[in-house]
């Protein structure tokens, strides 16, 4: 299997979310970056397991400028064979997907795996766009993946049920919880990652389709109303008459 795993750099889950320049830019001051959890924990690790089981190559790709190299090294340390960086800001999902699709068209991947959603922009868009742009089938979310020859067997959990699907490669899938267990890179992996190649590719000319004008913070909560633990009738009454949710 020749697998391409799309990884995205995102702020660490505990980052303070603030904005600058009249709330038009994310404030990167003091922010630590990580590989987007579903890309790392599910997409990358499952790709590595498939390679370990049946051979092949796992390539990671990211659209970003040189700032993202440390995060690429982390993914290499977990075990990816090589890395491609499309040398540009990620302008919007379409831009990112188009860059990845352009690159993938020049190679012969069997499987492209994305995370199901980034934790910064929460779009869940890139995977489907790549699939359309290269004309492959797309399955999301993918909670379990087995590969047998060129046939993928996938479990996809949607509201209330699990769908068991079968699809031939080439295929784009988006990885979600259940696909694999997170791995911690070991010393050997970290050492090896230092010398693995990162191929830098200049971006294709693509026009973005959306732009973020301004950010705002959600309205603050009014504050918690504490209820006497002996008086659950009171809580039920408030949920009915005040909150009007039951």
């Amino acid at each position: 299997m020749n697998i391409l795993v799309c990884i995205s750099q995102v702020p660490d889950t505990t980052s303070k979310i603030a904005f600058t320049d009249g709330n038009t830019k994310f404030d990167t001051n003091g922010v630590q970056y990580i590989v987007n959890p579903s890309d790392e924990w599910y997409a990358l690790v499952r790709a590595l397991e498939l390679k370990e089981g049946g051979g092949g190559i796992v390539t990671i790709i990211t659209v970003g400028n040189a700032d993202v190299d440390p995060v690429i090294r982390k993914a290499l340390a977990i075990g990816a064979d090589d890395a491609v960086r499309i040398n540009s800001d990620a302008k919007d999902s379409y831009y990112v997907a188009a860059q990845i699709a352009e690159y993938a068209k020049t190679k012969s991947f069997d499987l492209i795996i994305t995370g199901n959603q980034t934790i910064d922009f929460n779009n869940a868009e890139v995977g489907g766009m790549i699939a359309e742009l290269i004309g492959w089938d797309y399955i999301t979310p993918c909670n379990k993946l087995e590969v047998n020859g060129n046939v993928c067997k996938i479990e996809s959990e949607v509201a209330g049920s699990t769908r068991v699907l079968e699809a031939p490669t080439p295929l784009v899938i988006s990885a979600a919880k259940g696909m694999a267990e997170a791995r911690i890179p070991n010393m050997r992996g970290i050492m090896a990652a230092r010398t693995k190649p990162i191929t830098v590719v200049e971006p294709a000319a693509v026009s973005p389709q959306v732009k973020i004008n301004v950010f705002e913070l959600p309205p603050a909560k009014a504050g918690v109303k504490m209820i006497d633990p002996e008086n659950m009738d009171e809580l039920v009454k408030l949920l009915h008459t005040e909150a009007k949710v039951i």
Binding site: F121, Y138, L217, M232
Partner: protein, 323 residues
Amino acid sequence: MSVLVFVEAANGKIKKAGFEGVTYAKNTADQLSNSVTAIVFGNADAAEVSSLGEYGATKVLHAKGDVFNNLDAGAFTSAVAAAVEKENADVIIFPFDNSGKAIAPRLSAKLKAGLVSGALSYPTTSGGFKVKKNVFSGKAIAEVEITTAKKIIAFTPNSVGAHKASGSASVEDFAPSVNASKIKLLEVKKQEGDIPLPEAELVVSAGRGMKGPENWAPVEELAKVLGAATACSRPVADAHWRPHHEHVGQTGIAIRPNLYIAIGISGAIQHLAGVNQSKVIVVINNDAEAPFFKAADYGVLGDAFQIVPKLVEAVKKFKASQN
């Protein structure tokens, strides 16, 4: 011109998000002096389909064909694209649920139509077409402008609600030509629990404070008497105390119910990321310092093993008084 809205039906009924989608489309169409066409997939009886008219659709295309049985996103994308052309639609609305996530991005790339996913409110259309959406897992909101001629919005379910307008819709069958699918649906396994978590209006959730899977009976009973779905924190799912489809949060699923009751959950930022959009949050925890209280509307400080059974009784009493 028209606004096209993607609607799903199952077992004869239109899904809840379908009515909300038509409501969303109606508001958008009114701003643009357009009309609403709904494209319905799945089996629904005639009365259900035409009831979309009451929410503002003037036309309904009922898509038919075996090709949709395999739930192949590509087939749906081709069908919606055919409807966009037929109806000369310039705005297309999807729910931001699993179907929307599978189809809207494909359609966006196919039609070169800018997409905003996770919209929280109606768009504004004067001085640029702008939509507000969640970013950073609910910790911020971004105003996104779509700069292409055709536009797609995937709205967050349970954000604008379904509202009746007056009117009626004409219904026609729609059988676009769509390529055969290479994807095969082998089986659909139903998950345990009656109410799917992503669609639930009421959710009872519990965390490591419950100490072990053998202690979940009161949590389940509370869910049952309320008619709520059950959820859990990540360590609980990781330890296999609960099925992992119940895991909510940044790395599980994000939900937006009207009521979220959190029992023995500390309220770590990654957990809150999946539930902070809930309309009302109740926290039951024996540690006054638990961060979850800061995000709560109502808090109960004490031992869940004492409190939850009392709450079950109080809900039962309330339900009895309502009948």
